[in-house]
Subunit: 193 residues, 2 copies
DNA sequence: TATGAATCATGACGTCTGTCATAGTCAAGG
DNA sequence: CCTTGACTATGACAGACGTCATGATTCATA
């Protein structure tokens, strides 16, 4: 049910998806709404956003674990590849639920804003840790994690709108060397590329 | 009227703002809706999105014109500063209308999707041209423009959710040197910053 | 001054929204 | 057997939505 909510939010935003639509998509009984989510839509959407944030954090950790090369650019490429497959499978009709909620309801509901913030924090933290693990200095890891998330979210939006994957290519191509350079701060960054 | 629509979409997304709300915000007569926008909500929102895209393109051109240093990082900093002021003035309750529409209605309405795409293209083009003007090679300018827009959009989202400007700082700090390095491909990029 | 188009005003329509009240089913435990 | 609690079903509510029909108004031009 929470998963169905997240999926629909990914596609149509928060205020664009109704509760009846969610229970229909989840093949769930409508009467369960007031029983499992007595807090109403805010509670259900909050749970969906936190769940989505957990998925994102797990994705980062899994990508780091399965990495063959120990370069930060490889981690970036792996994460981006996940989204590449995602958008392709869904024919560019979905985005990130966190972004949708941020654009939709951040100004309206404090509870949802906090949920999105918490989800993003829980995403940024393992990403920054992974960067440190790959040789990035602790000082820059936070900033770089923020830049990666920001650029990735933006690329998702652009790719979705354009209907092609070039924003992802641009991201990996331009940001990858930057990350690798940050991992080896003594040498000059990617001299002969 | 179009401006009011864009302003409301910035705050609550497309499906979160009603037509009656728009005419109220614009202090416009409700009867004018069917006369000036016979295409209904899709037409009004389309116009608002294209208008917002034009604003963004104009912002890029103005920033380039008023630039004192001829470094790409200075252009980035100027554009980001604009958004910094914007979010601060509105107390982090607004985002970018293009992002909101992309998250909201890209999967629903082809017309709106096309409007967003056109707006983004009209933003990317002058940005890439500006980069070339500042010394970036034509080959990389398109990719870098995409990365800048993506990272900026993501930073807007993150800043809005967090309620502070650190995403903007991270963006300028990490992406600025990358751009300057791309502008002078022979030397090593910004060695002692 | 008369005429026709442009603009505005307003009420109504059908549908959808989130929420709630009420009644129902059903398995577990006294 | 009967009660208790968790879960489900369904209908109704008040409100908001986008859209349209019908008039009233304004206003330039003939």
């Amino acid at each position: 049910m929470v998963r169905s909510a997240a999926q629909l939010i990914r596609r149509q935003g928060v205020s664009g998806t109704g509760m009846r639509e969610i229970v229909a998509e989840a093949n769930a009984p409508r009467g369960s709404l007031q029983h499992y989510f007595p807090g109403g839509k805010e509670e259900l959407v909050s749970d969906a956003l936190l769940w989505a944030g957990g998925m994102e954090a797990g994705r980062v950790k899994r990508c780091l674990r399965e990495l063959e090369s120990r370069a930060p650019s490889a981690l970036l490429a792996a994460i981006v590849d996940n989204w590449r497959r995602d958008l392709t499978n869904e024919q560019f009709s979905v985005g990130c639920p966190l972004v949708a909620a941020a654009a939709d309801t951040a100004a309206t509901s404090t509870q949802l804003r906090d949920a999105v913030r918490q989800a993003f924090d829980g995403w940024q933290e393992p990403l920054a840790e992974s960067l440190v693990d790959l040789g990035v200095s602790v000082e820059r890891s936070d900033n770089l994690a923020i830049v990666i998330i920001a650029a990735l979210e933006g690329a998702i939006i652009l790719a979705r709108i354009r209907g092609d994957l070039t924003p992802f290519d641009a991201l990996v191509l331009e940001l990858g060397p930057l990350l690798d350079a940050a991992a080896r701060p003594t040498r000059r960054p990617t001299p002969g590329r």
